[in-house]
Amino acid sequence: MNRVLIKGGILYTMVKDQEIFEGDILVEDGKIKETGKNIQAEDAQVIDALGLCVLPGLIDAHSHIGLFDFNHDKSVDEANEMTEPVSAAMDARYGMNPKARELKVAYEHGITSMLFTPGSGDVFCGQAFAAKTYGDNIFDMTIKAPAAVKIALGGNPKNTFGDLKRLPMTRMGVAHVLWDTFRKAKAYLDKKENGENPPYDAHMEAIIPALKREIPCKIHCTQYDMLTAIEVAKAYNVRFSLEHAWGASDYLDEIAESGCDICYGPIGTYRSPGERRKVDVEAVKMLDDRGVNVALITDSPILSEESLYHHMGEAVREGTDYERVLRMVTVNPAVQLGLEERIGSLEPGKDADIILVKGRLGLDTDAGVMLTMIDGEVVYRKSRNS
């Protein structure tokens, strides 16, 4: 039995209604055994957390790290099969490089889990998966696969197929593909359930878990396309999140009423007519106030992983309560992905993904991670004097 006692830290457990308190965490065999004050565990190895904030490992719920590689003169794209508008069966794990240098940046910055997603060059881009950021083999690092059906609206699929003069080369064309594919998938599922044995279709099979509400659809959309996404998702009663969601402040009522989740980001893009017209990080507070589950995302490596702090910071700058912002990179994305039993908060039974932080990440600009633990293993430790 391997026991570690993290002693005397300031605990931000992210457990609902639990106040911040000074206390200890006992870790046993990679899981959190206990949180509380003055935990006694004589056989345990002790990690001194005095004066440090102790948080659950951060989660970035929308990343392409290991799928996009910018380390060469010409960038490598393993995230987009996009030979057809519907590539729903593509499994992102097979394109993922677990040795991507960005993963080290991620866990050194306290990001311990991520949702790695294909896309967004076609309409049904493939299957996203959730994984830890430390390890040798992506299949071992994976927590859940598939974790979501990735869908994209707007300029990306439109440009892919516009260049080929094929459907969909317009936004209405994209909406058509979206409706049509869900209709086919529903008919396919109905046939299966009626025992009619339709010819096997891998793409339709990949959409079934979404139709059964077992996993969410992650729908890349901004501005008005958010209404399109909501309309179609409601018609097929799927769980879904709007990804990127620029311009959400214009659609607060529709978003709140639909019951969907929001993955907001990346911020920091220039504003121009169309999809980039409004990049309104102030929307995260408005949505959070209305009870919408909001996560902050970097879209890494488009924006780099360390910019997650800046994303938190911009939400703080726009008036979002600091502790609410912390939820947007921990428990909120965990709930969105149906992984709240394992990650996102410091509670007995959960994975021991724990970070020790000097200062307040996303508020104090010089706050920094001193130690990162994933599944009970210390994967990063910064010297306390530096």
């Binding site: 220039y270 504003r271 924006l303």
Partner: protein
């Protein structure tokens, strides 16, 4: 019109910080800076508990000169690789600039610059970011010569039979372009050649050259070793790998968008090395752009924060956002610090934007006009 910005913590921009300090503006200029200023008739702006900064400057911005959504970007004249005579003033798109709401990040002026597609792309024009009459916004044209020795230059080789198609070709072209301009008799020089000799022989403006990898930075510094023109490396993501040479030649750095496309992971960047450059007297500034293309206003503060996180003192970072870019662009007589006689471009933040994210612009003043 006179304004009295009262009782703020005033960051002059040159490293000095004056607590409980007032600033008096008259018309478009700063009239006085000091404690307990009296100015009957001036409208009072209460800056108690606030941090007051000179307007920040991005010296090489594409935003405001791209002309999106036109088919061809207005700052990308890559019909041939050498076009130093292009004047970015003629590509200004004020609406594009207004849409960015630059003032929310404290940025009140940008140097409009060409992309990296040309070896010599054109001359930077400095423009205020606030939505005012165009006539009031231009600070200086011919403020810098934008060059590039990155692979992007290969894009401009269509008319030249594919040349340059390598780094060797790019540097060869650079050398030959300088030599040919200088060999031509003065009265026979073309406009293009005149710009080149003005810049490289008479130092009419500084050079801003995109150079990111170690190959590009070392090559450029080697080529410029005996040149008198002041060289600023733009993007410069691998600056720390060529530190001694940069120090020796006193080259400036305009650090590109740090948090984009894995620069830190890819280059193992150690931004802490900026401290050594500052101690050595090199100028350092930030730009929202990376590879010749700009991102949104937020990025500017993020790069500043990354430098601070890496150990650069907060007030040194402030210099990198205001005084140094003003000096690089030759506009320090008007912008870059809060001093009597300078343009009244001032941001009142609720906190120090380098040390805390909880810092919002409460008031923004450009040319002595209150924007918010």
């Amino acid at each position: 019109m006179m304004y009295l910005i009262k009782n703020g913590t005033v960051h002059i921009g040159d490293g000095r910080v004056l607590p409980e300090c007032d600033i008096l503006t008259e018309g478009s200029r700063i009239k006085d800076v000091g404690r307990m200023l009296h100015a009957p008739g001036a409208e009072v702006i209460d800056a108690s508990g606030c941090e007051v900064f000179p307007g920040f400057i991005d010296p090489v911005s594409g935003i405001g000169a791209m002309g999106i959504p036109s088919r061809y970007l207005d700052n990308n004249e890559y019909s041939e690789p050498v076009t130093p005579e292009m004047n970015l003033k003629y590509s200004i798109d004020p609406d594009e600039m207004n849409a960015q709401e630059f003032y929310k990040s404290g940025i009140t002026a940008v140097g409009l610059a060409p992309t990296n597609s040309n070896l010599m792309g054109g001359q930077i024009a400095v423009c205020k970011t606030a939505p005012q009459k165009m006539g009031q916004r231009m600070v200086r044209e011919h403020a810098g010569l934008k060059c590039s020795v990155t692979s992007a230059v290969k894009k401009s080789n269509e008319k030249t039979n594919g040349y340059p198609m390598t780094k060797m070709g790019i540097f060869h072209l650079f050398k030959e372009t300088l030599r040919e301009a200088r060999c031509e008799e003065e009265e026979k020089r073309s406009e293009r050649q005149r710009v080149i000799t003005d810049v490289f022989d008479s130092q009419s403006m500084q050079v801003f050259c995109a150079a990111s990898s170690k190959t590009e930075i070392d090559g450029l510094l080697h080529l410029m070793k005996d040149e008198k023109a002041v060289i600023n490396l733009v993007d410069a993501f691998c600056f720390a790998d060529s530190l001694e040479q940069i120090k020796e030649q006193k080259a400036g750095i305009v650090l590109g968008n740090v948090n984009e496309m894995s620069q830190i992971a890819k280059n193992g960047m150690d931004l802490g090395k900026l401290k050594e450059l500052l101690e050595n007297g090199n100028r350092v500034a930030f730009t929202n752009s990376n590879g010749g293309y700009s991102e949104g206003r937020e990025v500017f503060l993020w790069s500043a924060i990354e430098a601070y996180r890496a150990g650069v003192a907060a007030e040194d970072v402030v210099k990198m956002m205001s005084l140094y870019p003003a000096e690089m662009l030759g506009i320090a007589d008007r912008l870059g610090t809060i001093e009597a006689g300078k343009d009244a471009d001032i941001s009142v933040f609720t906190g120090h934007p380098v040390t805390t994210y909880a810092a919002r612009v409460k008031y923004s003043m450009v040319n002595g006009e209150v924007i918010v």
